[in-house]
Symmetry: C2
Subunit: 460 residues, 2 copies
């Protein structure tokens, strides 16, 4: 059962398991107590903090353990914003941050703050100059992920950090996806991460705040972790998290080379064997283990189910696989196709043979799903005399509106338009993406009685 | 090495350990994912929620798992206050709540809300009528613990719940100390608890919110646990927490009887064998496993160290064992002696022989510490002709000011006064408590150039 969703959660690393078991026996007591069980717990906590700080590249007294990566991000953003509220209440962040950052930004806006979302290019990366331009005199904090969790693109952290330093703005780096692979480039003021992404247990995040960064913890006061993370320390899990971070780092360089080659193979073979596919994310500046692609005319949820039936566990940013029925905000910000989206993130140790088998299975599965949905053949549309057409896809979910568009584009004359009426949120992203992939012109979106009217001009 | 501090943290229950190990293998994946590892995790999460809800006495959809008891309390108070902000911004709570409640109340006050602290009697219990009187037209929420964490006294939850219901005010019950022993009496609107208090792992709390209770989660939006607990679910620990709650409950009735007898023995033998001791907390309406006493003329930190040297792990609410150098707010609210304070909380399975050995060792240790500090003999003061006296204990820490007072009380005439100058925070609590224990009159506190002047009149 190949599991290709390490970016969601990785199975517990053997070193983490071993450390957890030992710490359950030795580290269950309150590290704030004076008796021997408490002192033993304190020693374990101190050692874990030192190990984690070394891996992060900070001082132990700059690092606290939180209950998750999400709470680390929330606490870091709230504390940094409050610490600099005299400077202003502006927050700058990329458009493709993890939802924990976006939710914290939304809460900040709801409380009267202001935010600037820095756009990304088609690879998912911010332009450092654009990020720099978003920094204002009243910017209290900037947030940039080290690498994107959905498409794997690495962000230009060092360049952005230099611009932030020049502007006197602290930079919070969400390093959740990359910390297991190596330290974040210098220049950050705050750093957040999550242990279960690197093979540690769930229930542990970390937040590092550089000395000198103004920081004012929010929420009720806390007696533990320098007042930055409320509640009794989850010590056995913290010990396991620190031990596994050290262990995965030891093997990271070699494993990165191996997984990078497997991902390169996926990138090229998928593009080769699956027609009408868009492989997204930066092909070079990216996480070693992660690749994402979208398949035209495919329903993401069905695709995931069919892959699951064949024992491949992958995730998707398609709208039909989200509870909100909207496509991933990352794919949206990149302007790439979201239908039939598949994210592969290989856990360390992934066998090449499993990847090969996936690459054999995938084209069949995609073809099957397309056939079931009545997707058009991929041959280019033939010349045809018809005038402009309107396609009614109201009430139909992704990928049907795009399939309907593709079916009729050959029926209108070159230069004429097809207007697609649709009320599925994904159409707004996927119709322009289809035009880009197919070499047709996306004219624009017009309001309609129900949903929207998306106008496409046939060019070829 | 008898460990008598179960109220801080209990060693992992064997059932919890077993469940944790199994769930580390089966429940590491994201329960929100559609593939088999995710579905398996979801099943485990649902089963854990059902088991915990049954133990709590609520519906599974009323209960969420948080990252600790503290975060459950914080989230519960913030959400309930916000849900009823149109009613008003008043919060009523007892004076002896856990620090997580008091910190949330302080944060509420700092944000412009108002709080009423309901006092407790000398046993540490609130008077239901007094609690009822604290409820106002603008009271958004009331908080009452099920039982006190420092002295074991059970609160009149059912009576207070009835008064709250009458006033239309939701009641949050912090059940951290009692949930392992049995369900909380009906009538609560919100309930918070902490798994590591019942032998579950650290890193798991639970928050139940009855349907119909107005509740508006605060902080950044979350996608998990009904938006009431941010971050990836700590699933293996949640599974272990639920399994161990069920397991400890199965044996709770029998074990409560056994531990109650051991605690009764401690209560009577300590009072018998240790001179000048005050056993605090309700002798009947109390947790089965917890007892607290304070020893006159004893330095709490030294006492703990000496007990630790003899392999007994206990905790203390004395000022000298806290980082803030102030005595426990619970002892303060009760108006009982804080010096030489010892809290014993027996984990399930505690051997009677260990308790017996403790009762042999304790009197020796107390006598030793007193001798080292030059504490006065316990004989009642003899008549003496001297006029009133002033004792300068400025700059001296607990228990020295009380020792100095006790040394000279016999030197003044009956009806005359001793004035103790002291700047140690504990004196404010311990000098009146000493008067109560010794049958002398505490006249009052007067301002002084440095610290305070505590005036005591000799009565006998």
């Amino acid at each position: 059962m190949p599991y290709f969703d390490a970016a969601s959660a990785a199975p517990l690393h053997p070193v983490a398991r071993q450390a957890l078991l030992a710490a359950l026996d030795e580290g269950w007591a309150d590290p704030a107590r004076l008796y021997r069980e408490g002192r033993r717990a304190r020693l374990l906590l101190d050692a874990a903090r030192e190990a984690a700080a070394e891996a992060v590249g900070c001082r132990p007294d700059e690092l606290v353990f939180t209950s998750s990566g999400t709470t680390a991000v929330h606490a870091g953003i709230a504390g940094a914003l409050s610490g600099r509220r005299r400077v202003g209440r502006h927050l700058a962040h990329s458009a493709v941050e993890h939802s924990s950052v976006l939710h914290a930004a939304a809460a900040h806006e709801a409380a009267g703050g202001s935010c600037t979302e820095v756009p990304v290019d088609r690879f998912g990366a911010v332009d450092p100059a654009a990020f720099g331009a978003a920094l204002r005199a009243d910017t209290a904090l900037a947030c940039l992920q080290s690498a994107n969790h959905e498409v794997g693109t690495e962000q230009p952290v060092a360049e952005v950090a230099a611009l932030c330093a020049g502007a006197g703005v602290p930079l919070l780096v969400d390093a959740a996806q990359s910390l297991g692979w190596g330290p974040v480039p210098a220049g950050w003021s705050l750093l957040a991460a999550s242990a279960h992404k690197w093979g540690g247990p769930a229930g542990v995040g970390l937040l590092a705040v550089r000395k000198g960064t103004r920081f004012s913890p929010q929420g009720p006061a806390g007696e533990r972790e320098s007042g930055r993370a409320p509640g009794f320390e989850n010590l056995p899990a913290i010990v396991a998290a620190a031990a596994s971070l050290r262990a995965v780092r030891d093997g990271a360089a070699a494993e990165a080379v191996r997984l990078r080659a497997l991902v390169d193979r996926i990138r090229s073979v998928v593009a080769e064997r699956v027609p009408d596919v868009e492989v997204v994310g930066d092909p070079v500046r990216r996480l070693p283990h992660l690749v994402t692609f979208s398949c035209l005319y495919v329903d993401g949820e069905t695709l995931l189910h069919e892959l699951d039936r064949r024992e491949f566990s992958v995730s998707s940013g398609s709208s039909c696989t989200s509870s909100t029925l909207t496509p991933s905000h990352v794919l949206k910000a990149m302007g790439v196709l979201s239908e039939g989206n598949v994210r592969i993130s290989l856990p360390p140790g992934t066998a090449g043979a499993d990847v090969d088998r996936f690459l054999e299975v995938l084209p069949e599965v995609v073809a099957e799903v397309r056939e079931r949905l009545g997707a058009p053949a991929t041959a280019p549309p033939s010349p045809a005399p018809a005038a402009s057409l309107v396609v009614d896809a109201l009430g139909r979910r992704c990928p049907i509106p795009v399939i309907e568009l593709a079916k009729v584009i050959g029926e209108v004359a070159v230069g004429a338009t097809v207007t697609v009426l649709a009320d599925d949120e994904a159409a707004r992203l996927d119709i322009p993406a289809w035009c880009e992939m197919r070499g047709q012109e996306y004219v624009g979106e017009e309001p309609a009685d129900r949903g929207s009217a998306y106008v496409v001009r046939r060019l070829s």
